[in-house]
């Protein structure tokens, strides 16, 4: 006989200690207003910032989009990846090659990069179905390590530029809008990010998204409710890779340059760190994660040139200690406190 799943088939989680059910309504309204405030603050920020800072802010948004994709995989469907830098790279190269070799408009490279990475992610997700937890992390690690080398390969050099990489033309603002190129790219990235966030949120609150959450929490029960777990896990990989690929495409346009050494394993780790800092499973956390990835290494460098790595490490550990659930965990406990005044000490 075949046993599709290991012994005593159900992960018999103990009933968690009783926790009061919390009225969500006030908290939800509060967080919606907070979200709007953040978006408004972002929208006016470039008016007061130097172009270089605007560029940095744009890159924080780009990383946020990549982390949003990673969150769909890890936080929502419960699968790990230490290799999302690979999808970011594929997205970046897709955009660079399409713009510079095929003459495609920069905006059109985003959907193409998304589709290419969806297919890549889905195909990677299929064999990865056999892998759980740390083994899956290991396989994605291999992907991250291998990708930069493929990008250097001789036969592809005509398109990829080999070790030299590809220089990407910086787009001008359309319709003669009175703003700098950096400002325009910021607003463009913000708009794409908001659209992708909206779609991710819709997804999580839909039949498909609940199927993914169900797989994360209890795959066997999910199957018995009719969820094709293999298909949905692969789809989650595809969608996640597509998000990260679009981020990569945006990154290539914003940085105006792609080269294999921009996409080392360190990028994958950064995205993973951003995910944890923002809060696994909490979509808005991607913004905090993106800011962390963009600004904290600079900050660490600022504090001490020689020991920037150590400063970064200490900051990271402090954050994990202070907010074990990342920014998301913090937001949740604050929300709980505000929605139940007086109920907590």
């Amino acid at each position: 006989m075949t046993i599709e799943h290991s012994a005593e088939i159900l992960p018999s989680r103990e009933a968690a200690p009783a926790r009061e059910a919390q009225p969500r309504v006030r908290g939800a309204a509060g967080s919606a207003w907070f979200g709007i405030a953040v978006v408004v603050a972002l929208a006016v920020a470039p008016l007061f910032l130097k172009n270089f800072v605007t560029f940095q802010l744009t890159m924080a948004l780009v990383y946020a989009i990549a982390i949003l994709g990673l969150n769909l995989l890890t936080g929502i469907s419960g699968q790990f990846s230490l290799g999302h830098g690979a999808f970011y790279a594929v997205g970046a190269y897709s955009a660079a090659i399409l713009m510079e070799s095929a003459g495609l408009g920069y905006a059109w490279t985003l959907p193409v990069a998304g589709v290419v990475c969806f297919v890549a992610g889905f195909l990677f997700g299929l064999p990865a179905l056999r892998l759980e937890g740390v083994y899956l992390a290991l396989a994605t690690f291999a992907l991250a390590v291998a990708t930069p080398q493929f990008l250097k390969l001789g036969p592809l050099e005509h398109w990829t530029g080999g070790v030299q990489g590809v220089i990407v033309t910086k787009p001008d603002p359309p319709f003669g809008l009175p703003m700098s190129q950096d400002q325009w790219l910021f607003y463009f990235t913000l708009a794409v990010g908001l659209l992708l966030y909206w779609a991710a949120r819709n997804l999580v609150h839909s039949r498909s998204g609940r199927a993914l959450l169900a797989i994360r929490d209890n795959p066997i029960a999910a199957r018995s409710m009719g969820v094709n777990t293999a298909l949905y896990k692969s789809l989650a990989f595809g969608v996640s890779a597509a998000y990260t690929g679009v981020a990569g495409a945006l990154g290539a346009i914003v940085v105006q340059f792609v080269a294999p050494d921009s996409f080392t394993f360190a990028l994958s780790v950064s995205l993973f760190v951003g995910l944890v800092v923002g809060g696994v499973g909490w979509l808005p956390g991607a913004l905090a994660g993106g800011a962390f990835v963009m600004f904290i290494p600079n900050l660490a460098e600022h504090v001490s040139k020689g020991l920037s790595g150590a400063v970064y490490g200490v900051l990271l550990i402090l954050i994990i200690y202070a907010a074990p659930g990342g920014v998301g965990g913090l937001a949740r406990s604050l929300g709980a406190r505000f929605s139940q005044p007086g109920r907590r000490p």
Binding site: E4, A15, N218, S224, G226
Partner: protein, 259 residues
């Protein structure tokens, strides 16, 4: 086959795990509209049989038919859609989801959507979502779970969690509902209430029930027929009164205690 085709036919099912024979040629029929009690000492093979019905385990031999059609060619995720719903012996909820979302997952097999449609909130996806919410709302209020609909299930009392599992199973719109020790961990009053509820599930919702239970009082008071298993074999089958009188059944249970 004669006019009264059984809802469920379990025919000579055998399941082995390495050296252990968990089910050794078990056969029985269940009529539509019946509550069938499945009893037996610990390790008799009751849960193993449920897992075969859910296609989580694949029997070495034998057949399982629902309304005459074998289910053995189906993948586990294609079982809910033909009308077999279940609960689990150790509550197997989606711990971090709300009561409502747990029940909504129960409707997964009965609805269709695409990821793109869901992500872009296309009209078809919105319609599906509205219908699902309506259905789940009806089930939650029928089970008295409305007040906790937004609560994450992980923090709810055990008895409530069992009820949520029932809601989730009903949301699959089953013809046949498999309940694996629904009374386990409940107090006296809750068991009494559960008995009434299972009857109402059958009478008001037209769902046939296959009930695995150690609580004899419950089984004997609500089952139309009872099948007794021991060491993977069928010991006895009949009305509750017949099975209760059966010398083999008495021996299996008393022997258990005397040992």
């Amino acid at each position: 086959m004669s006019g009264a085709e059984p809802l469920l036919r379990v025919a000579d099912i055998r399941v082995t795990f390495g050296g252990i024979t968990a089910l050794d040629g078990v056969s029985f029929d269940q009529r539509a509209g019946h509550i069938l009690g499945l009893i037996g000492p610990n390790g008799a093979g009751k849960t193993t049989l449920f897992n075969c019905l859910s296609r989580l385990y694949h029997p070495t031999s034998g057949d399982i038919r629902l309304e005459g059609a074998s289910i053995l060619g189906r993948a586990a995720h294609r079982i809910a859609e033909i009308g077999i719903g279940r609960t689990f012996q150790n509550v197997a909820l989606f711990q971090r989801l709300s009561v409502r979302d747990n029940a909504l997952v129960g409707g997964h097999a009965r609805t269709r959507s695409s990821m793109i449609g869901d992500a872009l909130r296309l009209p078809a996806a919105k319609r599906t979502e509205r219908d699902s919410l309506e259905r789940v709302h009806e089930i939650l209020s029928w089970l008295g779970l409305e007040s906790v609909a937004d609560a994450p299930v992980g923090g709810l009392p055990f008895g409530t969690q069992k009820r949520v599992e029932l809601a989730r199973a009903l949301a699959t719109r089953p013809k046949l509902l498999l309940l694996d020790e629904p009374a386990g961990g409940l107090n006296h009053d809750e068991v009494h209430e559960l008995g009434r509820l299972i009857r109402r599930i059958r009478d008001e919702r037209g769902v046939s029930v296959l009930l695995v239970e150690h609580h004899m009082g419950l089984v004997m008071s609500i089952a139309d027929r009872v099948v007794a298993l021991n060491f993977g074999r069928k010991l006895a089958e009949g009305t509750p009164a017949e099975v209760q009188r059966d010398p083999d059944v008495i021996r299996a249970y008393l022997g258990d205690k005397a040992a």
